[in-house]
Symmetry: C2
Subunit: 337 residues, 2 copies
Amino acid sequence: MLNKITVAVDAMGGDNAPGEIVKGAVDAVSRSSEIKVVLVGLESAIKDELSKYKYNPEQIEIIHATEIIHTGEHPAQTIRSKKDSSIVVGMKLVKNKQADALVSAGNSGALLVGGQIIVGRIKGIDRAPLAPLVPTSKGVSLLIDCGANVDARPAHLLQFAKMGSIYMENVIGIENPRVAIVNIGVEEEKGNALVRETYPLLKEMKDINFIGSIEARDIPTGYADVIVCEAFVGNVILKLYEGMGTLFMGTLKNVLKSSLKSKLGAMLIMKPLKNSFKKFSSEEHGGAPLLGLNGLVVKTHGSSKAKEVSNSILQCVTFCEQRISDKIKESLFENEV
Amino acid sequence: MLNKITVAVDAMGGDNAPGEIVKGAVDAVSRSSEIKVVLVGLESAIKDELSKYKYNPEQIEIIHATEIIHTGEHPAQTIRSKKDSSIVVGMKLVKNKQADALVSAGNSGALLVGGQIIVGRIKGIDRAPLAPLVPTSKGVSLLIDCGANVDARPAHLLQFAKMGSIYMENVIGIENPRVAIVNIGVEEEKGNALVRETYPLLKEMKDINFIGSIEARDIPTGYADVIVCEAFVGNVILKLYEGMGTLFMGTLKNVLKSSLKSKLGAMLIMKPLKNSFKKFSSEEHGGAPLLGLNGLVVKTHGSSKAKEVSNSILQCVTFCEQRISDKIKESLFENEV
């Protein structure tokens, strides 16, 4: 078991738990022998699901947790009161170095709060941003921060820029990632107070490739690899991405079944259509890491199915192999931010 | 000429001026006899364009203006220095009640600044928001504010909510429009400082139909008719709408021409496809009004063609006939905001 990356997985979190979560875990261990998954949650329920599959038993372990944090429960309160919940137990595994990472499709707020108070931030990091990948016409960009830490200060955004650069370079493999700050125009004097104050500081940072402002219309074009913003704006961008995708796909589906002629046309284009639009699916990109913690927490969509869970687990392997947390720590000495 | 609504049109603004602008003006007067258009700009250029069409000469007038404010020029400086520009001359017509409205596809910043300092705000209105309509699966919603007045205060957002309601009810014809504030969750305690402070005040307002928070993913579903936010967030939403539309349509176009089979499929679905996606086109909805001024200023896209110009001119007629500015003034007495 030595040298394996250990990923705790919240078996009870999300709309499709535990079925799809366990399926994703089995899939992940079948794809990589470098990994060990610890499924955290109700043992009997997890065993029932596991009994459906064949897998290397040395790669999957169960840790029993009796409670579940549901969607809608108050994050801070529930993290404190449900000490035997799958999220809290999973986070403690990370905190105590019994696991390298936790993957969960559960209550977002609880993950954000728990990440900060149970796993804890790297010393010197002021805020742990949630940094999902968003699809673009060129590939993916990292949107940092989309968490719950609203009303950020310039120093936070500088740390986001640096952490985002480290992630994109080492996990996604983009050399010298282009960093931009979300703004309402490209000129340096544009923006709200936060952006106007942060912009010159980003420009001065020697160890990131800062390319200036990015207007929201250029996010889908892949104009930047790391898109820095405070969490309120990031959350709006992320959710509008989802909402617009749903609106367009819904409209398109209605067109394709609107008449016999359309249905015939749909048959002819369905295969390339699915291939091209696959990149917009959240399943393809795994979950969103919470960066800057003493260990890795990855949040997947509440609606995650096995594929997203599996991809998220494998993403943790790259994260750990590339020693991202160490690199973030080292960067704190380089930058006095 | 009595009782006609007079709309000044900046003949020199936008990528397609003066050709498409003049064409749009001619189209508008052909569609409504209730309207008079004053084309503002270089007389010779306007005359050249007008000579291509037949129209009722009583409905179109030219006012010569020798200067043009170009894209990229500094808004505040150029408004002050180019006193004989089509934008400044057009705005003075509105200020002096020689025109009821100005439509322009020109420099956005100059329109926002000029609106405030030349046309002037209604007494009691603290900020004049730019309020475009965005397409949704149900129709359109008003996104208020998308202008340049970032870092708004709660009192500003309350005025936006009220002005937006008046606009949607009277210009678009939606009874008791649903007003929501952009937030990162639906619970009242969610949000940044501005939203948390504004939410209870909106809830107390008796003469709007406040339905609470709206997450960005629900904007495209048409969950609310009036979407209140400060300008930085509004700008991000508006531009991401455009960017996502372009990404999606680009991907779809590539699919439809990817093979002979796809091209055949494309032929079968092209007609319903165009019909369904027409609603996402900015041309259909006319321009974005700058609300709360002593007269109407409507900003159309820089890339406006005749159809958008024509729709924007007709939109001004409804705005003026419905006495929107008066209704906004009256609302200031009802609400002590």
